[in-house]
Symmetry: C2
Subunit: 497 residues, 2 copies
Amino acid sequence: MVILRENQALLSKIATSDQHGENSPYFDGWKAYDQDPFHLTENPNGVIQMGLAENQLSLDLIEKWVAKHPKSSICTKDGISQFKEIANFQDYHGLYEFRKAIAKFMGKVRGNRVAFDPDRIVMGGGATGASESLMFCLADPGDGFLVPTPYYPAFGRDLRWRTRVQLLPIICNSSNDFKITKEALESAYENAIASNIKVKGLIITNPSNPLGTTMDKETLKTLMRFINEKNIHIVCDEIYAATIFNTPEFVSISEVLQEMEHDPMSLINPGLVHIIYSLSKDMGLPGFRVGILYSYNDNVVSSARKMSSFGLISSQTQYFLASILSDEEFVEGFLSESSKRLAKRHKTFTQGLEKEGITCLASNAGLFVWMDLHRLLKKPTFDEEMDLWRLIISDVKLNVSPGSSFQCVEPGWFRVCFANMDDQTAEIALKRIHAFVVKKGRRNERAPMNNKRSKSFQKNLRLSFSSRLYDETNMMSPRVMSPHSPFPRSPLVQAKT
Amino acid sequence: MVILRENQALLSKIATSDQHGENSPYFDGWKAYDQDPFHLTENPNGVIQMGLAENQLSLDLIEKWVAKHPKSSICTKDGISQFKEIANFQDYHGLYEFRKAIAKFMGKVRGNRVAFDPDRIVMGGGATGASESLMFCLADPGDGFLVPTPYYPAFGRDLRWRTRVQLLPIICNSSNDFKITKEALESAYENAIASNIKVKGLIITNPSNPLGTTMDKETLKTLMRFINEKNIHIVCDEIYAATIFNTPEFVSISEVLQEMEHDPMSLINPGLVHIIYSLSKDMGLPGFRVGILYSYNDNVVSSARKMSSFGLISSQTQYFLASILSDEEFVEGFLSESSKRLAKRHKTFTQGLEKEGITCLASNAGLFVWMDLHRLLKKPTFDEEMDLWRLIISDVKLNVSPGSSFQCVEPGWFRVCFANMDDQTAEIALKRIHAFVVKKGRRNERAPMNNKRSKSFQKNLRLSFSSRLYDETNMMSPRVMSPHSPFPRSPLVQAKT
């Protein structure tokens, strides 16, 4: 113990701080799953992992392609002639064929309405590594980035931990389906300035993680005007770009940039625009660690490429992906089929939830739904949200992720991943939810609430086996902010309660 | 241009500084090679790359293994059943089979005199990523690490650029074959303290890059006592551990730790000891980006593992390596044969140089020699070294790396890599050197100089086609430090001249 204490003093502030954010319930839920993982036959009563945004629905298509293309691996008799060259390839620009294929794939995913330049493709160790490098390029320690809430829990680790930048929440809430408003944006910016924080940029995920929604063109144009007016960067994390399974169509920041650049009235600086991409979600290959930074800023491309040495993509993997992504016929079929399968799973899952009286934010993308359980909270606080979450983990044996870990300002929301399991497991998850929430027959005849989700909210819910903890009366209490919330009370939030 | 200048102001100090160190001649030489790369048949007059420490001599052994083991790739008909699971595997602990195989391999490379614990194996994006993460764990911006000169040029980028730590040279020189002395170590430490720099550790490469020498056990024990006395870390970069091709045998810091730990008089804290490892050099697989941090400090293991998310090894590559490294018979044969081939190439190459009157530091490891050309300098300055280096690049068309880029304090040394080419190319390189240096027959009868390399120094050399630049008289001038040298004059250096 003496040695351990001594070591603590010997290590860096980074290593001895908890800024890595892994103490969040988001990661705790994973640990719960790890300790008792569900398996259809071997552990049918284990925890089902619904906290992991993986896309496993279309991997069979890739498997079939692989079986037909033995040359795509340098580790086959057919591909071995390339082994030596590829095993030795360590140029941080990446294999040209790989960059070319990635650029083409990025264009295809965005409907070929915009083209990407292979020379602006910078590799990173997953989106995680690519995002961190971008932060290192854009900001000094202490500088701030505006991020609309709710946002991806690991941003704390990925963007902030080692770079020492600050994430400054833009408060979004359910009254307008968590859309970012000009007012909230300006308010977050002004708050930062008042606190003497140098704002270096705005970070968005589009499609949104955790919401599963996409931003419309007008919103993106508003953001583009805003960042140009303030002369700050915009970082668009578009790693779910190919998970669109319903209308409206996805609009990439690259399209908006292209459109506004050609408008002489816009005065847009492309050098402020940066895209994070990955194949982890869109192709379902998180193990391959393919992160991409695409920047319209030459200096960022140059610096980030030097930084890519800290997390290059294995040349074995680059070679394989260059082969498969160059097969345009396959890619088109894959994207189309993957979208259909996501649509189907999303429909089955959300309809299953609706049967239990549970609604989700209407969404058109992503590998998850943003599930509204606020009516199951005894009081509208984050403590209650945590209690409910613990119950869901321990008794319902589903690892879902509580909204608080996404910095959501309203208690009672949960992100539920639906694409990392087979049909049978999804069915079992729904059955468990059914056992958890028993639908009490009669409909609530109260006046509809002032939001889009009011229709389904008319149903009364209560926990099937925990009525001692939750009851209808309490579920109907006005929603107030938790005293533990790090965010100021928002007039918008209060207006909604 | 206005936009570019604006962008500069918008980016971070890291991005706009040149602390990445890529302006060094070490990297410039690579660029020269890139512009006109030698090819046996297609570009026989191009630049031969001797600046890249790659090990290409035994890759055929790996190729043969691969052809016989189609299951080792998840991208073959035989291995496809594992595709889905592996493609999805993103646990930052790594595949257990991979960690186990790496730990065993590390032990085997060190003669099985010491065992490694798979649970202490932390992945990094190459040694580059693993080293940077270790720095982030150990030190805050401004903290210093002692590093004996000459040292690996990319340390500036890998260890310092984003972490903002300082590298503090320990001056080593040719009078004792660049061995680290207790005096130089203490002096560097005291200088740092006098400059108010908090020293957090000592970094060594063993086997040394660029020297190709290994440290003896007594030296390692001295270092271990020193770091324990000062209560600072020791970081041992052992990425060339399996490139030993001659006696003396390699001694790893892990062996010294094991021995001293069992000595109750030593009072050694294992939590101060950290090893960087990789398969880039020992297996010749730099493209696969396998970096390993092995720490005896639990807190470092825990923090660095979280950081490994920024540069995980592709699961496709982990799986392949777990398969091949688990084949113990293959591994033993590979290590033995690789060592023999390195010995042979080293012998051919150094004997070829000796025929031209060029000596290298005696070495027993590595993929390079530390070549002494100080007699070819008009004056013993780093400006002259650069002139000679430019001539070697432009006229001799060999990309070797000048000692100044390794922070060597004595002008005239060059690192020359010999294992990244086939026999024919190595032969052509020697022929070019022969054409460069014309051996003037008569031996110099002057009294032997006061160092070990005096015997071969008795030969007179001069540039074959550049005698206007270099002549015997000047080559015999007393050696003095370049006025541009960032280092203080060392009494030892002067004693040698």
